[in-house]
Amino acid sequence: MYHREKSIQLKSSASALYNNLSVLRLAPRSLTHFAVVHANVVNLVSASWDGLNYSHRQLQSKEGNVATSSSLIMQAAWCVLPSRDLLVVTSQKGIQMYESDGSIMVYWHALDTPETPTAKAIFARGIAAVRDKYICVGVSSGAVLVFDVPSKGSNITLSEVLEEHTEAVTDMASECSGSAEYIADLVSADDSGLLCVWKSGGDFQLLNKIPGFDMSCSSVKLWKGTVIAAYGTGQIRLYEGVTGILHAEVNAHARWIYSLDIAPFTGLLLSAAEDSFVRVWHLNPAPENNSVEIEHLYNECVTDTQICGAKFCDGDGYAFAVTGYDLSEIIRYTQA
């Protein structure tokens, strides 16, 4: 179904972090941007669609006191709002927001750090753009920070802090179908596997809490009202977001899953894990019994690679890209 394309070289290798690949497709300029985290650096690559031109940029996490050890980055992801695209970078020290090409930092939010280090690590992780003007970021304390982003300029404000999680937030996702008919806008996941389903607005409203089972949910997606959650057990679960009804459970991978992605137009689902497998699934809404079906379509074994990032490169799922721990390249696959 898919075949391997020429890889894109990175300036430095990918770190072992959940969802360690972000893709931004810029149709007007026929460009695709890729972001991959290496320790305290974000590798940015933009590739022209004809595959002939690549340009590289590296972002250092240079916040905080430079004299102390530089802070490690946890995640880098583009947030696409109707008015603007921002690159959000989360680390041990705080949250940075850049213009989408990484050229200018427009906002910096520092995390509260205690004077003396405690055993609990502090970091931000989990990034999602919600509706017209919100960017939500998770924190290791379990808090979800909601930022209100103006259509231009740097007057970004922290508008709300959602405190429903008690464990470190792992990932966050907004409804990706583009349709306004679904009530739930946002889902957040944490280290205990707890999922919180939210409706955005002046005040974010908690719609539902789907309990975990003491196993981290490392990656989560929200598509047509269905929450797709991936866990450290290698399982994927499909829930109806608003009610929490479990539609399906998939024994998908033999090791910890690191990344999920949805192609919103076709309902293709991508899952990737430490077991070196990438799998493609198809989600099919079954309105007659108020459910969603999942079927398995395709396997790809990226030999001897602990996969840490996997994303579709377009809304149809025609192509996808994969990163792996210690690997200095982005491996690409396209449909045959």
Binding site: S69, E167, A168, D191, D214, I245, A254, R255, Y325
Partner: protein, 386 residues
């Protein structure tokens, strides 16, 4: 990221160090080479006992257990060298280099391959069990290791799987871009020629996980209404039993056991090879000595004691040993997968020194320029002189 990596780094890399030292010193004892004479069984035991006594001392471990960032490679190498030199044995810089490479790759392999993050604890227990076996004649040390193991159990077993994953990811970042080839791994087909590890797509899934290949569909009342299987491309089985996270018991995983054990103490097991590009890369990663870590280092060094011995290495009556004599290196090439690669290494064995000197020089400059009068400098300077 995680602030709890240091005790694990010390126990596992220290454990690997003890395995290697034990095997090398046994080999030294067996050779007829009279130049290296003097390494009797009693000497070897003394070295083992001295190192284990410091490594598992309560004060030292408790200091490591303070929440703190991971050290730089430079600092960790210094600490482990100091640990080795708490005994009567003195290692030359080539031996220290090779020793550190072996420890690094062994532990990197164990972290990368352990099926679930929590298994890092089992790897640590395997190391502690293995070291206990090496000093089993000494009840005081066996006791010390048991106590240390209880400390580790107390600190780590309550952690969630998510926290263990963070520890694992922090350690993987620490070892990132280190691709030294180790002959024992290459020979066993555990490592590829480019230094990456072979990731199996078969075997047992971690305890608590399901074998991939099944989809279950539920109705609104939570009943399974349909099952469908799919082809996974791997072949996995369910684990037979869960491992023991107690002071003793079956650890199930073999990661972290003594692979230089009785049956195979032949010199080729400790052969490493590295490309020059790699050396540069790795030093880059560790190029930011954390000032905080420097203070900590001084403290740890004090806990280890014998500060004065350091100043007079070689003149204190300690016994020098070359762990990896060059004549054995050449013999090793017959075991190697790619002969030409290992030839390069033999030349490199000489070059490593100049490379280190260059890096050391850079460090001294940088330190002197940026942080004049910093106390930690003394230790880093000593490190450079290794």
């Amino acid at each position: 990221m995680s602030l709890r990596t240091l005790p694990l780094l010390m126990i596992n890399m220290g454990g690997e160090m003890l395995y290697i030292l034990d095997q090398r010193l046994r080999a030294q004892n067996e050779t007829d080479d009279k130049i290296q004479k003097g390494w009797s069984d009693a000497d070897r035991k003394r070295v083992m006992n001295d190192i284990v006594g410091v490594m598992f001392s309560k004060a030292f471990l408790e200091e490591l257990m303070q929440p703190q960032d991971t050290y730089s490679h430079q600092a960790l190498r210094y600490l482990l060298t100091r640990l080795a030199h708490t005994s009567i044995m003195r290692l030359n810089s080539t031996s220290i280099d090779r020793l550190y490479d072996l420890m690094t790759m062994a532990f990197k392999y164990q972290i990368a391959l352990c099926p679930r993050p929590r298994d890092i604890l089992l790897v640590s227990f395997n190391h502690m069990d293995g070291v206990r076996e090496l000093v089993k004649d000494n009840p005081r040390l066996v006791n010390l290791i048991n106590e240390a193991q209880r400390l580790i159990i107390e600190m780590f077993t309550p952690l969630s799987d998510g926290e263990f994953q963070l520890i694992r990811q922090t350690l993987l970042t620490f070892f990132q871009d280190t691709h030294i080839r180790v002959s024992v791994f290459l020979k066993e087909n555990l490592q590829n020629a480019d230094g990456s590890f072979v990731m199996p797509t078969s075997g047992t899934v971690p305890h608590g996980s399901e074998v991939p290949g099944l989809i279950r569909y539920f109705n609104t009342r939570g009943r399974v209404v349909r099952r469908r299987e799919f082809v996974t491309g791997g072949s996995y089985t369910r684990p037979v039993r869960d491992a023991s996270f107690d002071v003793s018991g079956d650890r199930v995983t073999r990661l972290g056991i003594n692979m230089y054990g009785e049956s195979s103490h032949t010199p080729e097991d400790t052969h490493t090879s590295r490309s020059s590009t790699h050396t540069c890369k790795r030093e880059q990663v560790s190029d930011e000595p954390n000032p905080l870590a420097k203070v900590e280092l001084n403290l740890l060094a004090k806990l280890m004691g014998q500060m004065e011995v350091w100043d007079s290495v070689g003149a204190d009556g300690g016994m020098g040993v070359n762990l990896f004599p060059s004549d054995q290196e050449e013999e090793d090439t017959r075991f190697s997968v790619e002969d030409e690669v290992f030839c390069v290494v033999n030349i490199q064995a000489v070059k490593v020194d100049t490379e280190l000197t260059r890096i050391a020089a850079e460090f001294t400059d940088q330190d002197a320029a940026e942080r004049p009068g910093d106390k930690g400098e003394d230790l880093l300077a000593m490190m450079d002189e290794l």
